[in-house]
Amino acid sequence: MRNIGLRIGIVIFVLVLGIFAIYPTIRLYTDKNLSKESELEFSKKAMHLGLDLKGGMHLILEMDTTGFTESAGDLRDRAYEIIRNRIDEFGVYEPVIEKQSGGRILVQLPGVDRDRAISLIEKVAHLEFILLVDEKAEDILLQIDNFLQVGDTFAFEEPFTSYIVRVENDRGIDLRDEDSVLAALDRARDIIPGDIQILFGPKETYEGRAVKRLYILKKEAELTGEVIRDARHEQASGQDLQHLGFWQVNFELKREAARKFATITGKNVNKRLAIVLDGIVQSAPAILQRIPGGKASITGQFTAEQARDLAIVLRAGALPAPLKIVEERTVGPSLGRDSIKSGVRAVVIAGAVVIVFMLIYYSLSGFVADIALFLNLFLLLAILSALRASLTMPGIAGIALTIGMAVDANVLIFERIREELNIGKTTRTAIDQGFARAWITIFDSNITTIIIGIILYIFGSGPIRGFALTLTIGLISNLFCAVFVSKVIFNYFTYKLDIRKLRI
């Protein structure tokens, strides 16, 4: 019974450390009346819920860098900054944005509206100001018509212009015809002059049907690139009936761009200047006079949310190249809640069954094992809190498995003690021998699972790492709880309290 005082001291010390580590986590998830500041304070020191439990999206984005001279890494770094700015402005609680190898970017956003977040991230936001060529429009459309009629091997029942509908004072197409129109344009691409392009507006509703406006513009933009100084969203003013009740985005150009903008507008009074975002004509107002201040706005059938997001994207700047989602794992909030519920239920039931079983099978000694098990769970959660780890669903599975495996150590010890008692050893000797002999086996049998756990943590991806983490920590802390702590308890009873008969 060497140093039992010291050993009890160690156990108490570890307990106190554990309480300190776990305290913020417990407050954070149980105290409903927490103030905002203390919530922030605690969350910096607490265990977190993984995306699969709290709901959220995990994205891996890859940049299409074909045709760029810059290295993929540089482009990625620029895109990374822009995406971070966008997400910061959007206001997500604890986002994760990381650069990854291969020019990739990892984005993890808890609890957001999926579609909205994706459009915010994916939008290239390449802004161009392009002049319309209204004077040539009619000609070009007729040429397309003629071309398609004359050399036609294409199955057309109607000439091209019959697809064109009126949208206010613009040309447009019905959305149902979109595929045919695009096919026709593709076929006629060679007869469209090289300095001219045809672009469409966003989808909108006009007189009860879904349409897109069609614009004929110059190929070359008058102004493009990083030109936006500031952008704000605002409810559209009353005069514009088509956009009544919708929102718009007002923006201000940088000084250099504003000067250029003034020159362009001065030279092209009475012409129309299209504001083109990612190849879609947002609006094409007529230039009434020279615009000196570099202020303009994008109008359209925007909701407040859409206008706000568009303003964010314009402020944060354009991505150097389009991003592609190569991996997405999104969990809705209700599945997250279900998972927490079922995960906790599984752990509680597993724990209860094992605890009752140990009590029945080993009676009072089983109680000692149960204390060790409780302590192990407590330490596991304390360590996870101290590491600020994320608890995932596989992580919960790892906890349940830890419960099942942890008692193995105590079973090994108790079986040994029983054997020693059976061959007539005294209680004290049997306990000492039992622990000593079982120790090597316990260490050995845990070490293989721990090796696997560490490998899974290093090489595993995503969800499986959570499992590896809880299982590995659980088994390591179990070496302390099931062996060290339960031996202290046994020694205390047999030496200090002088109990001679062991119920095992």
Binding site: D52, I60, R114, K324, I325, V326, E327, E328, R329, T330, V331, G332, S334, L335, S339, S342, G343, R345, A346, I349, A350, V353, V354, F357, I360, Y361, Y362, M393, P394, I396, A400, L401, I403, G404, M405, V407, D408, V411, L412, E415, E419, T441, D444, S445, T448, T449, I451, I452, G453, I455, L456, F459, G460, S461, G462, P463, I464, F467, R503, I504
Partner: protein, 299 residues
């Protein structure tokens, strides 16, 4: 004080023939299944899309399949969750998973406008990423096996080490075989479960071989197989108990843990059962055959 298993004296070694026959048949069948049918690889490895959808009203699998047919995906895997017929997982390997997920959501809204849908989970993996994950996972498996072998080689005696490694492959192959026949999704998480099984199976073999080694020191005069049997019997109660508690935990996970973790828990359940079986019936039996064919020289 209760003892379920007390002072057993089961002669495992003399019945080793049955164990060998059973295991050989199982391994053979599993290998045939694995190579002929192949595991039902999840989108983690093939690339593709997985959507878990909850409808506001019950809906039948055949209605869903009809809708899938309209977008040319009648072969997609459609799995009903729960008994209400409101929740489904739709999974399919895809070249362009993002596009597919979008199309699927649109067609569901169009076909079932009265039956609103909530997307509980949406996963898309590009085939390229799937390949990378597969390579990464392969490395994890290779390194794990290497470290385990390394450990076994200095921790076990040569014969027990070889037997334990044979048992390890035996466990993994049969577990994969069961996964193939039940058509459970073979995902990254399942690979994690398989590696856990390997660690656990080795752990059992260690406990048993340790005890047998101890017996060899004490029972020098007894015949080889008697010593093996005594060792096995002495740890039998421990093995049954600890596997019992672990299985209780895994069964709790399988029944109460929800849809996300079900395949994982199922894999663990099968693997732990097979692993325990092989620790008791196969490892020592291999060693005993070895001893009979090539007896160690008595010191």
């Amino acid at each position: 004080m209760i003892e379920i298993i007390k002072g057993t004296n089961i002669d495992f070694i003399s019945k080793r023939k049955y164990g060998f026959i059973f295991s050989s048949v199982m391994v053979l069948l599993s290998l045939i299944l694995i190579f002929a049918k192949g595991p039902n690889f999840g989108i983690d490895f093939t690339g593709g899309a997985l959507l878990q959808i909850r409808f506001s009203e019950p809906i039948s699998t055949s209605d869903l399949r009809g809708t899938m047919g309209k977008i040319g995906k009648e072969n997609a895997l459609i799995q009903a969750l729960g008994s209400e017929g409101r929740e489904y997982i739709i999974r399919t390997a895809e070249e362009n998973p993002v596009e597919f997920a979008k199309t699927l959501k649109e067609i569901l809204q169009k076909d079932f406008p009265q039956n609103s849908q909530e997307i509980l989970r949406e996963e898309t993996v590009e085939p390229k990423i799937g390949k990378e994950l597969l390579v990464k996972t392969m490395w994890a498996i290779i390194i794990a096996l290497f470290l385990i072998l390394l450990y076994v080689s200095f921790r076990f005696d040569y014969r027990f080490g070889t037997a334990a490694v044979i048992a390890l492959f035996h466990d993994a192959i049969i577990t994969i075989g069961v996964l193939v026949i039940t058509q459970r999704e073979f995902s990254i998480v399942v690979v994690g479960a398989l590696l856990t099984i390997i660690g656990y199976s080795i752990n059992d073999s260690i406990v048993i071989s340790d005890r047998i080694r101890e017996k060899f020191k004490k029972m020098r005069k007894e015949p080889y197989n008697v010593v093996l049997n005594t060792g096995l019997n002495e740890v039998l109660s421990r093995t049954v108990l600890t596997v019992g508690t672990t299985l209780l935990a895994v069964i709790a996970l399988l029944i109460f843990g929800g849809s996300v973790i079900a395949d994982f828990a199922f894999t663990l359940l099968i693997g732990f059962i097979i692993g325990t079986y092989s620790s008791i019936f196969i490892v020592a039996s291999i060693v005993s055959v070895w001893e009979e064919r090539f007896p160690k020289k008595k010191k």
